[in-house]
């Protein structure tokens, strides 16, 4: 198969940006990526944009055109991808496939979300668009509620504990404290987690990723085009899978089958196994999802994710660093932006360029982006050298 590289990355600070609109954040991320690549924008041939719900957050649709227009890239083809919180990993995969097809040499994949122009309850309701509108949202479920249902099932079946969940958030904040782009760049303690308000039993506020504004962009290049750029990082494997939209329609409440299928695709394409992965960016929208990710990606036996976290293997200087830059919990989760942000962070680690956040072993990295309560999963594996 042809080789495709990421040759430029960019990310805005994530947080509550009262002074920046969706278009401001997107163009900022794009400009950072172009600058990082040292690329002439005229060479960009297509754009793929990930965004979940600009229609409900800021009443704006037709983002494909807005992005191309605001970036000064008219009249190139531009396409929006949507799969709830997995939107921009899909945009990245589509960008990758478009180069593999032979149609393009240089393509942008970006993700952005502007969530704070509306009140919290409205944002929570908009996020429930990622669930079954008629049978989950309509009966009063929230996203915290859906993941709380997964948490309780996991605790019941495998004995996962409250303390193990807390350690996920504590580790993410320990890393994020050093990340200048994070929304919450500070450490938290176990006591603070346990004192934080209960949102949906047993998940507390500090088990939950926040509402955030932000954007991220990466630039992909075919092997031939990548020769002109200084820091190519190679895509070794790409996988994507779907599962039942409603949590109650899944065949299991203690694993995310979409993750397993997408990971298998990516591992097979890359010719790699879970033990070959040096570090991973996973989708900790809620603390339980990091434990599920560790298990479903094959980093440990099913059911032992809690113990894996407890043994601190996930620390930045640990055996298998997970979310070494802070995860969704500390960096923030502008839903449509997270997928590409994870890829950008994996790329920067593989370049060996992450300063205080650098993991020791960084030849092969993995990014897992999940949509909704596990209805979509996208897994990407990148390598320093192919």
């Amino acid at each position: 198969m042809k080789k495709v590289a990421v040759i430029g990355i960019g990310q805005t600070k994530f947080g509550e940006h009262w002074d920046k609109s969706l278009r401001d954040l997107s163009t900022e991320a794009g400009a950072l990526a172009v600058h990082d690549a040292n690329l002439n924008v005229k060479d960009i041939q297509a754009m793929y944009i990930g965004n979940m719900s600009a229609g409900r957050f800021v009443s704006q649709e037709h983002l494909s055109s807005l992005a191309a227009d605001q970036s000064g890239l008219l009249p190139i083809p531009s396409t929006r991808c949507e799969a709830a919180c997995a939107s921009s990993a899909l945009a990245f995969r589509e960008a990758y496939l478009s180069i593999l097809s032979g149609q393009y040499d240089i393509v942008v994949a970006a993700g952005a979300e502007k969530m704070t122009d509306i009140k919290g309850e409205t944002a929570a309701a908009a996020l429930m668009g990622a669930a079954d509108q008629e049978w989950e949202s309509a009966i009063g479920l929230t996203f915290v509620g859906l993941y709380a249902l997964l948490t309780r099932a996991h605790m019941q079946k495998y004995g996962t504990t409250r303390d193990q969940l807390s350690l996920v958030s504590i580790n993410n904040h320990r890393n994020g404290a050093l990340n200048e782009k994070a929304q919450f760049p500070y450490e938290i303690t176990k006591e603070q987690v346990l004192k934080s308000p209960m949102i949906a039993d047993p998940l507390r506020l500090l088990d939950c990723s926040p509402i955030t504004d932000g954007a991220s962009a990466v630039i992909l290049a075919s092997e031939e085009a990548a020769k002109r750029f200084e820091k190519p990082v190679w895509i070794a494997g790409s996988g994507q899978a779907s599962d039942a939209l409603a949590l109650h329609d899944r065949s299991s409440l203690t694993e995310l089958n979409a993750t397993k299928v997408a990971a298998k695709m990516a591992y097979e394409q890359a010719g790699l196994r879970p033990e070959n992965i040096d570090f991973a960016e996973v989708h900790d929208c809620f603390s339980i999802n990091e434990i599920l990710a560790i298990e479903d990606l094959g980093f440990c036996e099913k059911g032992s994710g809690g113990k894996f976290v407890e043994d601190d293997k996930i620390a930045r200087n640990g055996e298998k660093p997970i979310n070494p830059t802070g995860g969704l919990k500390s960096i923030g989760h502008p839903v449509g932006a997270t997928g590409v942000r994870q890829i950008a962070d994996v790329v920067r680690q593989l370049r060996g360029d992450y300063g205080k956040l650098q993991v020791n072993k960084s030849d092969i990295g993995l990014a897992l982006n999940i949509g909704g309560s596990g209805a979509t999963a996208a897994v990407h594996i990148l390598r320093r050298n192919l």
Binding site: E121, T122, A124, A125, M128, Q133, E134, W135, E136, S137, A138, I139, G140, L141, T142, V144, G145, A148, L149, L150, R152, A153, Q156, P197, M198, I199, A200, D201, P202, L203, A246, L247, H248, D249, L253
Partner: protein
């Protein structure tokens, strides 16, 4: 919010929401609530027929919502569970009753007709089925 204020949508869903009218596939026996027009196992529509569910089942997981989405604020805290219906499929539903702190995985439930929410002073009052733990 479409599910709150769309009269046509609400009208379409009445049978399944009020009377638990679902479907089953006569070819493979799979049952569906909410109803599906297409059996995803057989990949056909022809074999799919109506099935009325009893609404009885057992709780497989539950949570208590303490921070509500828009429209549900006045009901917090309320319990929501995933229920394995006796006919063989799962559904999500609120659990009613005085003591929502005392719900257990494995508890048996039965359906009860309740008000789900009101769309403001002048909007639709939507009803539906919630679930009560059987003694």
């Amino acid at each position: 919010m479409t599910y709150k204020s769309s009269v046509p949508m609400f009208w379409r869903l009445q049978d399944s929401k009020y009377r638990l009218v679902g479907t089953r596939c006569s070819k493979c026996g799979a049952v569906f609530l909410p109803p599906r027009e297409l059996c995803h196992k057989c990949k056909t529509r022809e074999s799919v027929e109506k099935l009325v569910f009893s609404g009885r089942g057992e709780i497989v997981s539950y949570t208590i919502i303490r921070s509500a989405p828009e429209g549900f604020e006045k009901y917090i805290p309320y319990a929501v569970a995933i229920i394995k219906l006796d006919e063989g499929t799962n559904i999500s539903g609120q659990i009613v009753g005085k003591n929502i702190e005392n719900i257990n995985i494995g508890s048996r439930v039965k359906p009860v007709f309740r008000r789900m929410f009101e769309d403001g002073d002048k909007g639709l009052i939507q009803y539906g089925l919630k679930f009560e733990i059987e003694k």
